[in-house]
């Protein structure tokens, strides 16, 4: 057991720098997210939102800095982390059905050389029910709409029964009913004490959906409770002068 470092935060990031080629994609990121919040990471295109998520999940190697989840390095926390990648990151023409994709969320727990059993199928069905997709369990994934694909991906993360969930643009290109289902679900996760961290692109819904906000443009511009951070100055600093403050 390594010594805990900043265990009071669900996510603690210090001095994190990531480069693609020569230009830094993320520069000197210091970030703390307390447990039990629903946090949005916002910023303009190319500001490093997805890169930040992928670095935290160990998919992109940092050139400097460190990351802790509840005080521990990622390797010790894999089973407590749920991930919903961008929908477009996979080929939906893969020959499989919805239930099978959801069960993939359990592969880390099932372990090597074993097959999923009835208990795993039950858990997959529960997760599908939570996202309203229980009637689609046997559907080929190539036949799903965008919103349905997104819900399947969320069910796959749900079945992991994690403590921290990372979602990369879950509301991108989904229909309104799906967005409502996703938000209600994420908020209920938060209400159960889980931490939900979402890369988000729609500024008009930030205040309505989230209680914690991280504003990013290669560097951290601002972070904290939405009510403190969602200000005209911070928006200008993040997006330049292209965005006016949207108060709903």
């Amino acid at each position: 057991m390594t010594e805990l470092h900043e265990p009071q935060f669900a996510l603690h990031v210090e001095d994190l720098t990531v480069t693609y080629g020569a230009a830094p994609a993320l520069w000197d990121i210091d970030l703390d997210v307390p447990p039990g919040v629903m946090a949005a990471i916002v910023g303009p295109n190319g500001s490093g939102k997805s890169t930040l998520l992928k670095t935290v999940l160990g998919l992109v190697p940092p050139v400097a800095g460190h990351i802790r989840l509840f005080g521990q390095p990622l390797a010790a926390m894999r089973k407590r982390v749920g991930y919903v990648p961008q929908r477009s990151s996979v080929d939906w023409d893969f020959p499989t059905d919805v239930r099978d994709v959801v069960m993939m969320g359990l592969y880390g727990q099932i372990g090597w050389f074993r097959r999923p059993g009835p208990a795993h199928r039950t858990r997959a069905m529960e997760a599908l029910t939570a996202v309203g997709m229980q009637d689609y369990a046997d559907r080929q994934i190539s036949q799903l709409s965008g919103g349905q694909q997104q819900r399947v991906f969320i069910a796959r993360a749900l079945v992991q029964d994690a403590d921290v969930y990372f979602l990369d643009e879950p509301m991108a290109g989904v229909d309104r009913p799906t967005e409502d289902i996703i938000i209600a679900l994420l908020q209920s996760l938060r209400d159960q004490g889980k931490t939900v961290i979402v890369v988000h692109h729609d500024l008009t819904t930030v205040e309505r959906y989230f209680d914690w906000l991280v504003m990013l443009n290669t560097r951290i511009i601002a972070q904290g409770p939405v009510t403190d951070v969602y200000t005209p100055e911070n928006l200008r600093a993040t997006y330049g002068h292209r965005v006016a403050l949207v108060k709903v």
Partner: protein, 375 residues
Amino acid sequence: MLDLLASYTVQTVLMGAVLLGLISGALGAFAVLRGQSLLGDTVSHAALPGIALGFLVAGGRDLGAVLIGATLSGGLAALSVMLITMRTRLKPDAALGVVLSVFFALGVVLLSHVQGRSGAAGAGLSTFLFGQAAATLRSDLWMMGGLAGFALGLIALIWKEAKLVSFDPDYARALGLPVARVQAVLTVMVALAIVAGLQMVGVILMVALLIAPAAAARQWARSLAGMVGLSMGFAVAAGVIGALISASARGLATGPVIVLVATAFVLISLAFAPERGLLARALARRARTRSLRADQVLGTIHALARSHDDPAYKAELGMLRTRHRAAARPALQRLTARGLVREVAHPPETTPHWQMTPEGRARAAMLEQGTARDD
């Protein structure tokens, strides 16, 4: 036919074809799903210099030395592609093309060198270009069987990890799976499948036996297990049918015939598979068009009924034809069959008329509001 099957050589070739089909069918499914078809082609062509070197080192046509050489040079080619893609700005297809041509050119140079040096003994070497099934020995079968058992056993052991890594490598990495290692295992096994087929099918066409059965299987399969199984079935069938055709006709090279049979499976699958096949999709499109036309005709009757302020309005065929031309009659038949309209008389006119049923009125109203469901 029975004479054919009694022949020792044909028996050996058939058993070889079955074993080869099992390996290449299973690994081909993963190669196709992971977008590695072209890598297979590169590895296969790049085996040629290794074959020639193995021949040189062993001082003759020793299958073991030749296959070890093929594995090494094929593996080196795969590694080169990976490094070029990672370290330079060259796109993967360009990297594959460059490596394939360099290795294959080197192979042809070495091949002509060996043939020039060793004369008649070296002539056997050129059979590796297109394969020579008849040269398969019983002892070769043991090697192929071992390879098949090893490859299929390994796939079965890492089945779910291989599936997840093929479908969503980033997510697999986030779960903590050793994605790079699983990918390496799958790639190495593709190389082994290719090497296993060099003797029968040759470096130039071997990739077809890897890719074609898998591409055909994708058309029919609804699960990964289904696709792998079908792909193995297609590959075995192609091997057996191809070997029998070439054995029954003099002078037909086995490898190319096997590949042609596999290609026929692909064409049939592309055309006739349910759901994904061209025919099924054309039929589905036609059904949608007809259903849309029927709704349009229903809409016209509905509009007429409204402008006459009479829900039971009887629309005359001539009016509907003016609007919908030849589509009117089949659309009305369809609507009648679905109970949405009925044919009625409207004396003194003797021409046919149509009237909406209550169900038809309900559907027309829903269509208008955009709340109708497709059927």
